[in-house]
Amino acid sequence: MSTASILDIRELSVEIPTESSTLKAVRGISLDLKRGETLGIVGESGSGKSMTALAIMNLLPPSAKRAAACINFDGNNLAQASERQLARDVRGQRIGMIFQEPMTSLNPVYSIGRQLTETMTLHRDVSAATAEARAVHLLEKVGLPDPASRLKQYPHELSGGQRQRVMIAMALMNEPELLIADEPTTALDVTIQAQILHLLRDLQQELGMSMILITHDLGVVSRAADKIAVMYAGDIVETGNTTEVLKDPRHPYTQGLLECVPGYRNGAAQRLGAIPGIVPAMTGTVQGCAFASRCPRAVDLCRTDVPPREAVSPGRYYVCHDPVTHDTAKPLTVETAAHEGAAGPSQLPKPTVLTVEQVSCTFSVRRGLFGKRKPLKALNEVSLSIEKGEILALVGESGCGKTTLSRTIMGLQSPSGGSVILNGQRIEDLPPLQRARMIQPIFQDPYSSLNPRKTIGDIIGKPLAVHRIGTKAEQRAHTHRMMELVGLPARVFNSYPDQLSGGQRQRAAIGRALIMNPEVVICDEPTSALDVSVQAQILNLLLDLRDELDLTYLFVTHNLSVVEHMADRVAVMYLGEIVECGDRDQVMSDPKHPYTRALMDSALSISPGETVPDLGLSGDFPNPINRPSGCSFHPRCPIAEQQCRDKAPASELIDTTLVKCWKAGVSVGRSGNPSINESNNNMEESAP
């Protein structure tokens, strides 16, 4: 591979005029990318990484202003190229781009085939048949089954993972020399993410393509990028070889980010590091270091002078007055308060708070006016129990029935079979008010789960008013105490949700859920809409509150590093069934079900040097309306046999873990997928 630069960006700035001032989204960054190389750009939302990606081909929103000393792409300065030149020679032809949101990035009214072929016919003088053949070839490559018939389909007929594959195929139609992928896997399930990243890597090697991979997920960059650039508030604060930067971070922000990732330092039983505050909006003149207000190492100089760019080795530099060096390299932002951690519940047997017994939930779905009603089994005889003070994590991909189960547990959905028992009482028999007192939810999206027309004080105190507890003054006082407990400043009592940051909103949602002192709290992906630094704060808060108030959590999530950090026990769900359930360490380090194993493999912990594993899973998550016969996992299972196709396995207890698999009891269990041992070792290795 040649070592010539394919992309050389110098002093790139993007400014977006707002009503009162100008937002400096990107502030004079320089980047360099060699042929065949992958550059990972990481940072939290608002750091300017997407703007950087869009600026290269000038695809910025119309109001944004771009300036650059040069954007040299293979000898052509894109900063000087006209819109027409860019469209004719570069976009879609020499530089391909993949966007984050597969659900909305394809044109809904045109077929997949048309959208793929037009990319080619627009730029080259080729026949429709040639373009079609290329499209079929690429769809096959990206792993879409039956590619020829896909061409006639429309985007809404495909799942998110399938649409993202179409996006990738589309970006590759003209064999671009550079691929810009902006959060290509963020909206996807973990197993699909691993498959897509794996695929991108294969294609890249095959085509000798360079790639810019933009992501907020440090695990993803650690596996997929050769070089890494950490962006903060529109500037690159640290860059260099991926292994070097992640093993020996110099900038306090890089280090803070890493500390926030569950599992980076030591897996469970550790408080996560947290970066206080939020990314400041860069308006007006910027004085000193943009990170100074959040930096634990900030000195006076940081607030007045722009920090220098310190080179470490060729291609590796950071921008800081007071960098982390080897002798100061200790957990910076980690609060020292000893934390009992998720692993330390006392040994006394605790009473069972919540039992789910053989719960089934069947919806009937009808297609068309005269279509036959078909049953959709969202839950199939699910059994669970949670002890007082325990955190049970419920893991699974979207569509597996997690949400139906949590709705059923909350009594918002009546099961078609079985029962949910809360403190010895069937949940259907409880009057709604009493039920709400005992069980409360925290939802995924704090942007939509809080009423935008109510003040924070109203929102948190509302349950007290509904249940008529205490006088107005007492309710107010109680609300203030709750706000203090969840770490909300008293001054936001009269603020509205849109005046708060995402993290603060989620704190308010937690306060609202806890104010009635419920027996069980259902956390439905409480951090997946948040940045990693905010996620760390919320996870810490949830653990603290559990210890302080002796709470019980059902923690619904797809993020396995969060599971490892938080949970006492783990239940893995697939297509409406619990396929494996047991102690966290058992399930995570010695998974018995092949699906659990694939899930664990797909969790990309931070381990530079490792690649994205090949999961060995075939196909996509099936449509629950057409349940496969026998074991519902068999069509994707790498070790399925005839028995699995014919008969559904029953749950059996193996080493204190409940497993639903024909082959779990047999000792071939682990040989099914060799990468499993490796990846478990990686998890441990990654902790310094």
């Binding site: 570069v90 966007f99 394809l106």
Partner: protein
Amino acid sequence: MLNYVLRRGFMALLVALTVSFGTFALFHFATDPAQTIAGEDAPQEMVDDIREQYGFDRPVSTQYFNWLGGVLRGDFGESFFWKQPVVELIQEHAGVTVMLALASLSVTILIALPLGISAALRPNTWVDRFALSTAVSAQAVPNFWLGLMLIIVFAVTFPIFPVSGDSTWRHFVLPALVLGASSVPAVMRLTRTGLLDVLSSDYIRTARAKGFIGYRLILQQALRNALLPIVSVLAVQLGYKLGGSVVTESVFSMNGLGRLAVESIFNSDIPTVQSLILIFVLTFVLLTLAADLINAWLDPRIRMG
């Protein structure tokens, strides 16, 4: 798709029948048709005779179904006032209205779509402001006034077009302009906001990243998405126009369905009014149905939903 058409067609028929029965009943409670036919000063026996002869003494529902039965056989009854079959009356007037409606719809499309598209392409520039102020003025100006002004300018001062009548195509130019202009604001605004929405969508960004630019981006990528709401609104506007534009037809002395409707109402000519209302309602529901079908053809999500 067939399913969809059948369901929508059934609903449309129900709506048409409900409305026509409602007006039928109202008319029979509000006026005395026998008296109308006999004339104001007719003796009571004559009125009673007529009532019996025409069957006005029977229950309203019976009368309605008798009339509806006639309609299904193509017999719309005979006009009390003009003393000729309603079918003939409608045939005489419909040509003018259909012609005027189609001409004015073309005017709307030819003005509103280009204006809306250019406004969306350059939001907050002088193009946009010009388009918006045109829309606001068109909305504010009453139809009859615009009609009169056009007559003064283009028929009296500069006699390019005839002042009134409906015998040649030249007679239709000014009224089509007036009637067409009245729908421009709604359609133009919808085009502008719809296209702006589409242009800021993720899939248009994808198309730009693929190398689409200029008219190709608009015509081959954006327009089809933006057309969906416009089709629905155009169908409603065409419905209004086919329902007879009383004011425009009066100003230009055109003998369309609008004037027929007004005159038959003033003269309590129940058979004519009945038939016109049924036709207007049917036109409306059929147009809405047509719009839905066009949208289903444009958008696979509706087609396959």
